[in-house]
Amino acid sequence: MFSTEEVIETFEMISLSHLNVRTVTLGINLLDCADSNIKKMKEKVYNKIVSTAGNLVKEAGLVERKYGIPIVHKRIAVTPISLLLESAIRGVARKSAVARSIEIAEVLDKAAKDVRIDFIGGYGALVQKGFTKGDTVLIDSIPEALASTERVCSCVNIAGTKAGINVDAALKMGSVVKQTAIKTKDRSGIGCAKLVCFSNAPEDNPFMAGAFHGPGESENTINVGISGPGVIRNIVEKSPKTDFRALAELIKRAAFKITRAGELIGQEVAKSLNVKFGIVDLSLAPTPEKGDSIANIIEEMGVEYCGAPGSTAALMLLTDAVKKGGSMATSFVGGISGAFIPVSEDAGMVNAAKKGALTLEKLEAMTSVCSAGLDMIAIPGNTSTETIAAIILDVMAIGVINNKALGVRLIPVPGKKTGDAVQFGGLFGRTVVMPVSKFSSNNFVKRGGHIPSPLASLRN
């Protein structure tokens, strides 16, 4: 029999502190759907997704009821679409090739809708060393693909510790981000919320927008992303005078329990779908709900507003303690595994940005000790392509030199300037437009080419 304390603690974690499993993501290999006939390829892609994921929502729903732990999102990640595209665009003129790519995005969108999931990831490319024809066509199609679909997410890996940084890709993505915002300007540039540039993108990341089913993965896998900022915040709040050594211990214990819940749910959903259980991603993932915030944890540690001096140290302690506790709790750690600091998806971050405590530069410093990079940040609509590319390059540099998976998800909101309020809706939340440096980086990014892989990559 379990003790009253154990049962009540679980109840409080779920009911009062928003403990949930943030996402159960089904990875699906689509490589066998490649076909030189675009019509046939679209049919194969649709049929494979619907036949593999048809029961995902139902089975995940049964598991969440069985254990009383909500699964916030059920999602799908597929093989990077640029890999499939190659065969369908051979000998096809550029414009038609881009149109074919968009058709595939629309098929992904329809399949996602038909299996009742909110996002499908994998409309992306891996260009850290250079571009293939499929890569360039896919990247060119992104603005229109994200504007004409609801559920499709795009991830482009442009850098890696072993590959260095593809600066041409960063510049290209600066332009893609701008165009995507403009094409979805009637919805505050929401297309950019579904688009991320990555360094060292993990092949088993369950979180959007960066999820894709890597070529090194098995046929299908279930990967799980945990949540739980509310649970950790509650613990820190109850320990106002605890020193850091003791606080780290408390966070480790809670992280263990949170991760065990994720492990259990993941194993059970995988079993019910008869697919392999992949990994648990140890990232603490916030939501816009009150209290479910990474910023609030940092503030509970004693920093007046997230972003004030001390925030980076607080985040380092948090991320490290979560990893230590979580890694004991799962059979296989994977994905990104570090605290997420997305601004618009975290009400505490938005509040800190409004107060002027949190800036882009401080977020950049903070990301060197956690994960996610510069995530869900609204910037002025008139920010230049070159400045966006330079911001991307800075984050890629931190990722490459430190062997970290980092992303950049910026939204240059059309028609908005610093300090304006922006409403994205739902999980994307609401935020304030943050200031961007007014100084130019044009000549820097226009050098183009490739920043070579760093000495840190020579580990053999």
Binding site: F2, T4, V7, I8, T10, K66, Y67, G68, I69, A261
Partner: protein, 94 residues
Amino acid sequence: MPKKPERVVVTVMGQDRVGIVAGISQTLAEHGVNIVDLTSTEMRGLFIMIMLVDTANSKKPLSKLQEVLKEKGKALGVQVMAQHEDVFRYMHRI
């Protein structure tokens, strides 16, 4: 051959009053659910009862049983949750 046990933890919370234990136990019995263990206590002014039950012979699947218990809880003025025991085993035991 007896069925493999399917153990579920039923947690009841609310203001103490006459008939809570009887009401929940009766509902469980009506659905063929066996009570394996039971403990009750008072915490922060609330009555808390924790039951370990076996649903292997339940006439309804767990999801339906959860609905029935929730409704019974409403009638008794208490909150009732039913979760498979593995969630507690996983989260609190190594």
